[in-house]
Structure formats: C-alpha cells, structure tokens
C-alpha cells in the first residue's frame, strides 16, 4: 500500500459524502494538499442512495458525477476508503492523526468486471438499500461508486467463496492477504463531515416500525422508488408485494420530540412532498398520498414546490401528528389513529403503506469525536466554537439539505485553509 505523505499544511477531511467531497475539492482547488477519509467502500454518502433531489426532482447521480470529475482531475486529494479516524492529538496547525484502514481484499487492478460476484454464492444484507434486500459478498456498492472497485465482504474471508472469487478474477485484483493497517498522519487542519443517519424508527413505539411490515421509513421509500433499488423502482409494499397506491406520510417521526430528537430535521417536510410525486409518477391519477403534519416547513424558494404539490389532486394534507398506528391483521394494512386538529375530528384511516418521515441524527455524535469539540443538545457539532480542534461541515453540524450542506462545507474549507496558511507562514 502506497504511503500517505502529509505535513502540517495538509487538510484532513473526515467523511466522503457531498459535504466532505465539497470541502476537500474546494481546498484542493485552492492548491492545498487534502486527505479524504471515508469509512465505507465508496464516496458519495447518503445522497447517492436518494432517488431524486428536491426541489428540481433531478437525479442525484448528476451532482455526484460533477464532483467525481473534479476529483479525478485534481492531484491534490488523496482518498482513503474503508478508513476511520481513531485518534487525534496536537492542536490547530499541528495535529497527529491515526487512521485505521480495513482491508478491501481487492487492489487497483480491478476493472469492475463483476466476475467475482458471479462466482460467490454467499449473500449479505445490502446497506445501500438500507437492508431491504441482500447482495453478493463480492460487490460494488452501487453504480456510481468511487473508486469503481469491488469489495469482498470480510465474512467470506477464509471460506471457499473467497477462493472462488480469487479464481474468477482474470486481472489478479484479488489479494486475500490484505490486512488491517494503521496509519499516522501529520495534518494542519481537520474538517469533520461524517453526516447523518436516520433515527432508529423502532424506538417510536406507537408507530410499530419493525412490528408492522407496511410501516417503513422515508430513506427506505427512496430505495423503493429507485430503479437501482430492491424492487427495480416499483413502489411495492413489503408484506405482499402489492402496489402501494395509497401512501401515508407521517411527518416529524422522531423529530421535534422531547422523547426522541429535539430538533426539527428540516428536510423531511420537503422530502415527503418530493415523495408524493414518486407516487404520482408511478400511478398517475390512481395515486393517493396523504401527508400527516404538524406544520409544513418549506422555506424560501422551496415554498414554490410546496405550492405546486398542494395543487396536485392526488395529494391530501391532514393537520395532525399521528397518535398511533395499528395493523389490520388480515390485510396487514396500516391504520392510522389520531385527531385532525382542524376541527378536532378523530380518524382511523387505512392506507396501503405508511412512510415515516424519519428524523436526521448525527452519524457520529460530536461527543464521540476523538478531539475537543462542542456538542449541541442533539449531538451535532456546535458551529464556530473558538477552541474547537475540528471544523464541522454539512450534516455533522445540523440537519441540512444538500444545498445548505455544500455552502456549509465551503465555509469549513475556508476556515481550514486559513489554519494551514498560518502554519505555512510560521515555518518560513
């Protein structure tokens, strides 16, 4: 493995989602040396597993492609995938960082031909589809993966499947002897962009997620609508594979709730409005979406999109936080119970599928970052704390959409550049 050269004028970016890629590229395009550390096997983060982007309903691959092109054309960024930061010592302008790299068992020779995947038979849950289906234990994370290189799941190492994969590879790309390694890097500034994760829906007990198959989360719904997803882009409900034409969207699932996440996750109103259009796209006038909400938070220019969805006759809005979901045992239809606060009517509404607009929690809690940072009451990195060792970027600092994540990441890159410039001046 090639060694990583880094000095106190290098910027370390942790997390390779849209925020981390942006911060890395902005700094690199200013001529700075950047090491980008990502803990999965590919860059792209959570946006690469969305079906479409609000408000323009374009495909996320488009934005990802632009960033990847910038990345390939730039020699200043060193990308380390399957890597994690385990320790940080020192201060601004002079950090020593330890990075643990897990083996991929596949080297640079890989052409992504896919022969190894054909050869193995073991299947593992597919995290890129939020575990809705399974994938071969030799895999490319997804079509847009970067690097375009296969991975062997560690569970098959030492089994005949690993040997089968190795035998199938015509390019000598499979190296079963790869082992975990630890690197030590000198860096001047750190940008922390580890993003978000969906709040654990099973903890919202009255909604029955995990007990009722036809109660799913919004991130899972993105995968159902996506042609690369587990259903090939058909909106089918998990219990019986029937088309889900009548879909309920439950807002603030786990957000704005003292029992769960205190903050408003900001994007989930827009995400549900967007997803009503997936239902319409699939079923035309036969679609029926019902959005159960406390209030719709579509701000600034996003309000135009809200106005458009309101005009859609297949979309209905009910001002009510759903109190609980029950299940019809015969049909497995979810039945939503609550009170419509415009008129105080009680309802018990049956739908084909209920989608929880799940809240965004930090994927790494600020308190667990191995350096001094200030954590807010939801576990995100508190912005602009003077003493903080690392600069937060994107959803590591708050629940943000892509647009705001990118702005935020650019600001973090600028701060990091200032720090390494200062370090450079001190040395001359």
């Amino acid at each position: 493995m090639a060694s990583v050269v880094a000095t106190n004028q290098t910027i370390l970016v942790v997390g390779g989602g849209v925020s981390g890629m942006t911060a890395a590229l902005e700094a690199a395009e200013c001529g700075k040396q950047v090491v980008l550390v990502e803990n999965t096997a590919t860059l792209g983060g959570r946006t690469s597993v969305l079906y479409r982007y609000f408000p323009k309903l374009c495909h996320p691959v488009c934005g990802l492609e632009i960033n990847l092109r910038r990345l390939k054309g730039n020699r200043n960024v060193r990308v380390l995938t399957l890597a994690e930061v385990t320790g940080i010592s020192g201060t601004r302008g002079d950090f020593t960082v330890t990075v643990k790299r897990s083996p991929r068992y596949v080297n640079e020779n890989c052409t992504a031909c896919g022969a190894c995947a054909e050869a193995v038979s073991t299947q593992v849950p597919n995290p890129w589809n939020y575990g809705l289906d399974r994938m071969k234990a030799a895999y490319l994370p997804h079509a847009m993966a970067y690097p375009q290189r296969y991975v062997l799941d560690p569970s098959i190492i030492g089994t005949p499947d690993a040997e089968k994969a190795k035998a199938a590879c015509k390019y000598g790309a499979i190296d079963l002897g790869m082992a975990e390694e630890t690197l030590e890097l000198k860096v001047g500034a750190i940008v922390w962009a580890t993003g978000w994760q969906p709040y654990d829906a099973a903890r919202i007990q009255p909604y029955g997620y995990g007990r009722f198959p036809n109660v799913i989360t919004s991130v899972e719904f993105e995968r159902l609508a996506d042609p690369h997803g587990p259903t090939g882009g058909k909106i089918l409900r998990p219990s019986d594979g029937k088309e889900a034409k009548d879909v309920a969207f439950i807002q603030c699932a786990g957000s704005r709730d003292e029992n769960h996440l205190r903050h408003c996750s900001r994007i989930c109103c827009m995400a549900s409005l967007k997803q009503t259009q997936y239902v319409r796209e699939a079923f035309g006038d036969g679609a029926q979406s019902t959005v159960y909400y406390i209030d719709i938070r579509a701000i600034d220019r996003l309000e135009d999109f809200y106005a458009r969805v309101q005009k859609d006759t297949t979309v209905r809005f009910v001002k009510s936080k759903v109190a609980r979901i029950a299940e019809d045992q015969a049909t497995r239809d979810p039945i939503l119970h609550g009170v419509d606060t415009e008129g105080y009517h009680r309802y018990a509404n049956r739908h084909d599928l209920a989608v929880l607009a799940i809240g965004m929690a930090p994927s790494v809690k600020a308190a667990d970052i191995p350096a001094e940072v200030v954590e807010d009451s939801s576990g995100f990195i508190e912005a602009a704390a003077e003493r903080a060792a690392v600069f937060g970027a994107g959803c590591a600092t708050n629940a943000l959409d892509v647009n705001r994540s990118v702005q935020n990441a650019t600001a973090a890159a600028l701060r990091a550049i200032q720090v390494v410039n200062r370090a450079a001046r001190a040395e001359t």
């Binding site: 009255p206 936080k321 759903v322 109190a323 609980r324 609550g338 009170v339 009680r346």
Partner: protein, 208 residues
Amino acid sequence: MASDLNAQALARYRNDFLREVEERVDEGEWVKMCMQCGVCAGSCPFGPHWEHSPQKLFMMIRAGKRDEVLQSDSMWMCTSCYNCVVRCPRKLPITTIMHGIATYAHRLGLAPKRQPTRDFSVVFWENFTRNGRANEMRLMLRLWFKDGIGAGIKKALAMKNVGLGMLRTRRMSPFEIFGGHGVKDVKGFQAMIRKAQEIEDRRRGFTK
C-alpha cells in the same frame, strides 16, 4: 365561600385566563408549551366519549374560554392512564394538569354538579381525613345511599357479590361502621393536612 373565591379570581385575572391557570393550577405553567399536535387527543382512551380532549382544553385556556373550561366535565373523566403523557412530544405533564384544572374548578364552585368523580372524591376525602385511613364500610354506604334509600338498596343488591367478596377476603370489616381504625396520632395527622392546605392556599394566592 366558593363563589367568593371565584369573584376574587375574576377580579384578579380579568381576561387573562392563561395566567390564572399558570398561577393556580398544578403544572399550569406548562400549558403554553403545547404545540397543538393532537397526539394526546388521539391517544386518550376516552377520545370519542368526552367533549374536550387535553389538546382542546389547552387551546381553550389560551383562547380565554374560562367558563367552558372550568365547567367542563371532561377532565373529571381522566383515568390517569398516562397514555398522553408518555407520547406528548413536548413532555407536558398532561394528567396532572387535567386533575389540576378539575381541582381548581371544584375549589371555585364551578365544577359540574352531580359529577360522579367529583362526588366520589369529596366523599373519599372526608372519609379518609377523619382517621387517616380509608374506611371502606362507611365509604361504601355513603356512596350507595347518596341518592336516597331506594336507590341505595338497589345499588347494594347489584353490588352484593363484590361486597361479600371484600368481607370474605377481609378487605372490609363490618365493624368499621362504628368508627373504625385510624392512624396512631389522628390529631397530629389532621394538623398536618391543615398545614399543607394552608401552604398550598398561600402558594396559589387564595390567601396572603
């Protein structure tokens, strides 16, 4: 007495019923934290059977609907199941507020007459503050015969098996009718209750 208290409260709070609730009702200061999401209303097992859900009552308080709130019999029906409390996203102590509003309405003499929970509460309070222990025999007789001899006998016959069961399992003793058992220092106990009431009255602004 009760109507004096009501007149005093009206003069003191004028049209600011929210402030009145905040100062005089148990946990009343939480009412303004309600975001009207509807979860408590949708969670209450009484939902279809009463007029005013907690959510609705909290909105009525903010809208200054004093008479409607204090004369409502909805909060008297709360069974303290705590379904609403565990689900409220703002963590309002809803059950306590419900009982608090009921208590306050009773104090001012505005609570609905012949409300069964209210009647029972009054009888129970008198019963157990007498000796410091509940006297089941007297409590039972008081409740059965509160609507007259005829109604009492009817009720006694209907409840016969429950009563006999309680006697047999010694949950109730027929000798309790002659006064019954109590705590060791009944006078001390009563003084303690009086003191607590005094403190509470001062805290709530009923007395100086």
